[in-house]
């Protein structure tokens, strides 16, 4: 188990870094609250003006609950390490990982989870308060089985999003200054994952396409599991698709990084 020790250290290092920049994290939570605020008012105005109680398969309360949960879960699964990879490749720091007995993928994964853990725990705490509030004041019920299933899907969602962005970060081998492109990809994946609006809002055909792609399984699917919209066979089918995409993106990441490594020239090293 000695090999595990170095990755445990990477995890702890990431954890300590996150604690050091805790004020930054809290402020980012404040700015994350704005879209939730705007969307809540938008949906309130739309439901007030609509003669129907149900829109896109959501009651008003379900829609507001979705808006809050989407804002929080998008934060939980969010990556961010792709910029570090870009800098490693650009500055030549990546070279040291080629000569040291450390797997870059395992190092990044351990560091990512360590870095995310304090923030994720805090957001999960907020989510618990939110669920309690929705349950007490709005009478929305959350089954224990759904909550447990949600935690499993959430863990897989974090892993899937990590792998998607690990694939994306391989672009750094081809394009030196790729930060803007990362941001473009990030914002589009947030939209496609249902992190802004429920996917049903964009029509049935759009949902059918999203059912096949991996993005939905990072935000929209865990929320629907938590709210009990997805249960039984559909829940297990979703879990299967999540695992399948994790496997496929892992293979793709390996391929991309293998080709990328051949292009690496250690510019700043």
């Amino acid at each position: 188990m000695r090999w595990l020790k170095k990755y445990t250290q990477s995890f702890l290092l990431g954890f300590e870094t996150a604690l050091e920049y805790r004020a930054n994290f809290l402020l980012s939570l404040v700015s994350a609250a704005y879209p939730i605020f705007i969307q809540t008012f938008l949906w309130t105005a739309i439901y007030n003006a609509s003669s129907e109680g149900d829109l896109y398969g959501y009651t008003f309360r379900q829609m507001i609950a979705y808006t809050f949960m989407a804002g929080l879960i998008t934060r939980i699964v969010r990556s961010g390490f792709e910029y570090e990879i870009m800098n490693d490749v650009k500055s030549g720091k990546y070279s040291k990982f080629m000569v040291q007995p450390v797997g870059y993928f395992a190092y990044r994964l351990a560091s990512f989870f360590g870095n995310k853990l304090p923030g994720q725990l805090m957001i999960l705490g907020i989510l618990v308060v939110l669920l309690a509030g929705l349950s007490v004041f709005w009478g929305l019920t959350f089954q224990l089985a759904s909550i447990l299933a949600f935690l499993v899907t959430l863990l897989l969602a974090v892993m899937l999003n990590f792998l998607i962005f690990y694939c994306v970060s391989a672009i750094s081998f081809w394009i030196i200054e790729v930060g803007f492109l990362f941001e473009a990809i990030r914002i589009i994946t947030v939209l496609l994952s249902g992190g802004i609006f429920p996917l049903e809002v964009f029509g049935e055909r759009f949902v059918q396409v999203m059912n096949i792609l991996p993005f939905k399984y990072t935000v929209n699917y865990p929320i629907n599991v938590l709210t009990g919209k997805i249960t039984g066979a559909e829940l297990f089918q979703g879990l299967g698709i999540q695992c399948l995409w994790i496997g496929l993106t892992y293979i793709l990441a390996n391929l991309l990084w293998r080709v990328g490594n051949r292009r690496y020239v250690a510019v700043g090293g």
Binding site: I38, S50, V178, E183
Partner: protein
């Protein structure tokens, strides 16, 4: 008066040079430029998702039809181009200039320090994507709403757009001026920046007290709500008067704050 006009002309000509230099610099790093376009297009897609929600829901919100809401969102998108491409990029740089003492070199130039420090860079990528997309949305909405194309409507709308540019410049520069006294204002900037997105939808979706705060106390709603309100003939006289007075008040406040801040500047890195 003649001196003022001469100064304005001089600064206008210098601004043209700033734009030219910025474009040349951006063309040198072409992939950065393309990446910038991609990023802004991503953000634009998110703004368009709001348009889609409004049209698919097909409801009239406080007297605003989906077409009218498109006019508001189009105006917001176009002004986002102005804000991001002309102001934000300079304001981000300002705090570093103050922190690192890079303002020294600007102090020696025979032009207004505030002008040079806050308007020198223009990002054509950010500017063009949003301004073009916003203009297309406004034209579509204008046409669908059947708003007459007269000198008064077009001139009035563009006049309010110009006032909105002044208000956004002042409103978002004010927090950055704090950099003269505080070493790190990035947190404040992040929060105030997010305020811009409150204009994503017409202010009519908010409650009355939020609207009044957004118009009179922290006048963020003035920026993108007033031009379409004027075009739709929904502008109360009180708002009209406020829109004409506010830019001058803000310019005076910003000027006073800048002068005070500049006196506190101590060329930190030297």
């Amino acid at each position: 008066m003649r001196n003022l006009l001469r100064e304005l002309k001089k600064h206008f000509l210098i601004y043209i040079l700033f734009v030219k230099n910025s474009i040349m610099a951006q063309m040198e790093y072409r992939f950065n430029f393309i990446g910038n376009l991609a990023m802004e297009s991503g953000y634009l897609l998110v703004k368009l998702s709001y348009v889609m929600v409004v049209y698919r829901s097909n409801v009239t919100i406080n007297g605003l039809t989906p077409d009218a809401i498109l006019l508001f969102i189009g105006t917001f998108v176009a002004l986002t181009g102005v804000y991001a491409g002309m102001f934000m990029i300079n304001m981000y740089g300002l705090r570093n200039k103050i922190k690192d003492g890079d303002l020294d070199i600007i102090l020696t130039k025979p032009v207004s320090v505030q002008f040079m420090a806050t308007l020198r860079q223009v990002d054509l990528g950010l500017f063009s994507v949003d301004v073009i997309a916003g203009a297309v949305m406004v034209i579509i909405a204008w046409n669908r709403l059947g708003i007459p194309v007269t000198f008064l409507t077009i001139g009035g709308y563009l006049g309010f757009i110009a006032l909105s540019c002044v208000v956004s410049y002042c409103l978002f520069l004010l927090p950055q001026i704090l950099s003269f006294w505080l070493m790190n204002t990035s947190a404040i900037a992040e929060i105030t920046d997010s305020f811009w997105d409150f204009n994503n939808m017409p202010m009519d979706i908010y409650t009355n007290w939020i609207k009044q705060i957004g118009v009179f106390v922290l006048p963020i709603f003035v920026i993108t709500n007033f031009p379409p309100m004027f075009a739709l003939g929904k502008m109360p006289p009180a708002y009209m008067a406020w829109a004409l007075v506010l830019p001058f008040i803000l310019l005076a406040v910003v000027r006073a704050a800048w002068s005070k801040g500049l006196r506190s500047y101590s060329s930190a890195s030297s």
